[in-house]
């Protein structure tokens, strides 16, 4: 076991309670809880940059990754987060295993729950799936993406990246651009950023904006240049290629022309603008490589690094509430 860096020790000694069994939605959180999670995550960033990265905060605990949708990035991020905190981590991919043959989601979860995991990280293609599971199991459930609903740890890591880059979130102008209609990342981010006092704009063609998005409290723009004008952060979203073939947008090239982020459009944003993307990127479709790879502008790599730290903060906070012996 390694020593926690001084910053982290300070946060860990702070008594703050995280009165939740599950981590399902940004809407379950309040500002104080988010600030504490971000402080904690900040400390874990320093830990993760040490040679020896391992703590024993989750020693003896079992973390189960249950990913009904494939995701290398999020799954390995949770896996590393769990391992660095000393938990035993098991990855389940029900798609590829026999566990889900003809079995419902709940049966699968109840089966896994009987193996006594402490933390169950779930990704599923249906909105509300994580919430449904949380009602049927005894362990803590962490939503790693449910359909088009929420991806709360992504919003947390995005907030962490922004706070580290700008020193604050309140007052930032953030444009979220692209396929907002189908994006859980956008939903979680809108809620969290608004809670933290940022001004959020949604930018995309009408076909990719959710119905009544104007009631989300964010300004809607169909013109990319206007939408990102004066923005401190431009957050691009992934657009699935099959939605671009005349379905939601006429073609890839038309989409890139009007809604892809390139240098020229980015020039409309505020000086010092930072670009974010939850990944994986479609280069040349929603984002130009020139922008994505410019480390002076892009926070995309930071986001991945912050992902591990943010998830460590969530796991630590939840584990502190777990019963010691059932």
């Amino acid at each position: 076991m390694s020593a926690a860096p001084p910053g982290l020790n300070e946060v860990l000694q702070r008594t703050f309670s995280f009165p939740k069994r599950h981590f399902l939605s940004v809407l379950d959180l309040n500002e104080v809880e988010v600030a504490n999670l971000l402080d904690l995550a900040d400390g874990f960033v320093s830990l993760n940059r040490q040679t020896s990265k391992k703590l024993d905060l989750l020693k003896g605990r079992t973390l189960m990754n249950l990913f009904f949708e494939n995701s290398t990035r999020t799954q390995s991020s949770f896996e590393l987060a769990g391992k660095r905190l000393g938990a035993d981590v098991v990855n389940m991919s029900p798609r590829q295993s026999s566990i889900s043959k003809g079995e419902t989601l709940i049966d699968t979860a109840v089966t896994l729950n009987a193996m006594q995991p402490d933390l169950l990280v779930v990704r599923h293609g249906s909105s509300g799936a994580a919430s449904l599971l949380s009602q049927k199991v005894t362990c803590s459930v962490i939503n790693a993406g449910d359909g088009q609903h929420e991806h709360p740890t992504q919003a947390l890591l995005d907030a962490l990246s922004m706070r580290r880059a700008f020193g604050r979130i309140a007052g930032l102008r953030v444009a979220i651009c692209g396929d907002i209609a189908h994006s859980r990342v956008a939903r979680s981010n809108v809620s969290l950023l608004q809670m933290l006092g940022a001004e959020v704009r949604l930018v995309g063609p009408p076909t990719l904006l959710p119905p009544q998005a104007e009631r989300w409290g964010a300004a809607i723009h169909h013109d990319m240049r206007q939408g990102i004008a004066g923005c401190d952060v431009v957050m691009m979203l992934r657009l699935q290629l099959e939605r671009m073939d005349g379905v939601m947008a006429p073609s890839q090239r038309e989409y890139f022309r009007f809604f892809g982020l390139d240098r020229e459009k980015l020039a409309c944003a505020a000086p010092g603008v930072r670009v974010m993307h939850p990944g994986p990127m479609n280069r040349g479709v929603e984002i130009d490589s020139d922008v994505a790879d410019d480390l002076a502008v892009s926070l995309i790599q930071d986001q991945v690094e912050m992902g591990v730290a943010a998830r460590m903060a969530v796991l630590t906070s939840l584990a502190a509430r777990l019963e010691n012996d059932r």
Binding site: S126, S127, G128, S131, G147, H149, E150, R184, P211, W216
Partner: protein
């Protein structure tokens, strides 16, 4: 045959005659032999069993023209017998079962099967609706004439809209020649494809695939145009949105022979009741906005919507305990129909007699049934209830084989005390 039965000391509400007042009813040989208004029944012979209704409400037995069971084909959901028991417990004495079973009710032998089963069950009246097209697939006409002859009371493809306008035109024209009513679900198939909720702020925040209210209006407008073209009668199966109601009103104002129904669920719940992805509130059509719900209540009050259905659609846990967009739509409703309906009376929104009309004489008249009224010579289908008794709906205690009730936990007023079908007491609380 059992002894004649007199139910005395009750408040009669008979929408067919417009009577709402004290009275008594005499039942002989399965038929209403006498209805006394105001005064008693006079001197009764000694073999008459007299039941003191203790001031309760005596209504015609309810006629629910949109009920699904699982029989034939999906008996784990509900059988004709379990549905008939649930109906009896809910004061419903006539149910019209939908044709989308397995096999589909698209030819006379299946109509006959259901009628035989119903006769053997000997509880409430079970009448089949036939499919409008073979297999409810919307392509080729089913044997509408033969099914009508065998006893089907209307034709419909149930939840599935008949997309091809040419096919639907032919169904309307053909059914008209046989005097058969056609019911049709107004839903644009493309706008509603894959939808689990109504388009709007709620679904948008919840990340649920949704359909706009316009999906209902578009198909309704087409149907009205085809009614105008063919002159056939149409039952619009469950109008649930304000925008479609406007279209319906225009059609009815033009004198088109169109009658509309709505479901008790769309009168009682709105999209927010879905809450944290409560699949018991996943319905087809989906629950709508509060504005839509209010418009539907208003339409019932104004008579624009004449028929209320339970839209009873049993779904076992394996179909409901799933993520929201994978869960089966539908809710059981036979046992909760009456108390849920009475809520609008208690709220003072709709006069009692008008409410009761939507589930008795209106649907009976629509289908040409002799029941649904407290009249001499009518079938002795009655329900005695106390409209004021508070009840807490407990889904687990429902008679229905499936327990998927969105009313679970709801506090309502109104309790069925006794249900009589064809002179037989089929339920007693």
């Amino acid at each position: 045959m059992s002894r004649p039965l007199a139910v005395t000391n009750v408040r009669l509400v008979d929408p067919a005659s417009g009577y709402d007042g004290p009275g008594a009813v005499l039942i002989v040989e399965g038929v209403i032999a006498d209805v006394a208004r105001g005064q008693g029944l006079g001197s009764l012979s000694k073999d008459v069993e007299v039941m003191d209704g203790a001031g309760g409400l005596l209504l015609p037995g309810l006629v629910d023209i949109r009920v699904k069971t699982g029989e034939p084909g999906f008996e784990t959901k509900e059988t004709l017998k379990s549905a008939a028991r649930a109906a009896a417990a809910g004061g419903v004495t006539t149910i019209v079962v939908q044709p989308d079973t397995h096999p589909v009710v698209d030819e006379p032998s299946v109509v006959d099967f259901i009628l035989r089963r119903a006769r053997d069950i000997e509880l409430v009246k079970v009448l089949p609706a036939g499919a409008a097209t073979k297999g409810c697939e919307g392509q080729r006409m089913a044997e509408i004439g033969l099914m009508a002859e065998a006893g089907c009371v209307y034709v419909t493809d149930a939840d599935k809209p008949i997309v091809d306008s040419k096919v639907f035109r032919r169904v309307l024209a053909y059914a008209k020649a046989f005097g058969v009513l056609v019911a049709h679900r107004p839903a644009d198939p493309w706008l509603s494809a894959g939808a689990a909720a109504s388009e709007g702020e709620f679904a948008s925040r919840m990340g649920l695939p949704s359909m706009p209210a316009a999906a209902e209006k578009i198909m309704l407008e087409r149907d009205l145009a085809l009614v105008e073209l063919t002159g056939a009668r149409l039952l619009v199966d469950q109008v649930t949105t304000a925008t479609a109601l406007e279209a319906l009103k225009r059609g009815r104002d033009r004198g088109l022979p169109v009658v509309a129904s709505t479901s008790i669920n769309h009168l009682s719940f709105n999209e927010i009741d879905i809450g944290d992805y409560r699949t018991f509130c996943k319905l087809d059509p989906p629950l709508r906005s509060e504005d839509d719900r209010q418009a539907v209540i208003e339409a019932v009050a104004s008579g624009l919507i004449q028929v209320i259905v339970s839209a009873h659609a049993p779904a076992p846990p394996e179909d409901k305990r799933l993520p929201y967009d994978e869960a089966a739509p539908g809710a059981v409703g036979l046992e909760t129909l009456l108390p849920a309906l009475l809520a609008f009376h208690h709220e003072g929104r709709i006069p009692l007699i008008d409410l009761i009309r939507t589930v008795t004489s209106a649907p009976a008249d629509l289908l040409g049934l002799p029941s649904g009224r407290l009249a001499k010579g009518a079938p002795a289908d009655l329900v005695l209830c106390n409209p004021n008794t508070p009840v807490v709906i407990d889904a687990d205690k429902l008679t229905s084989k499936s327990k998927n009730s969105p009313f679970d936990g709801r506090r309502l007023q109104g309790k069925v005390l006794m249900t009589v079908a064809d002179g037989r007491v089929v339920y007693r609380a």
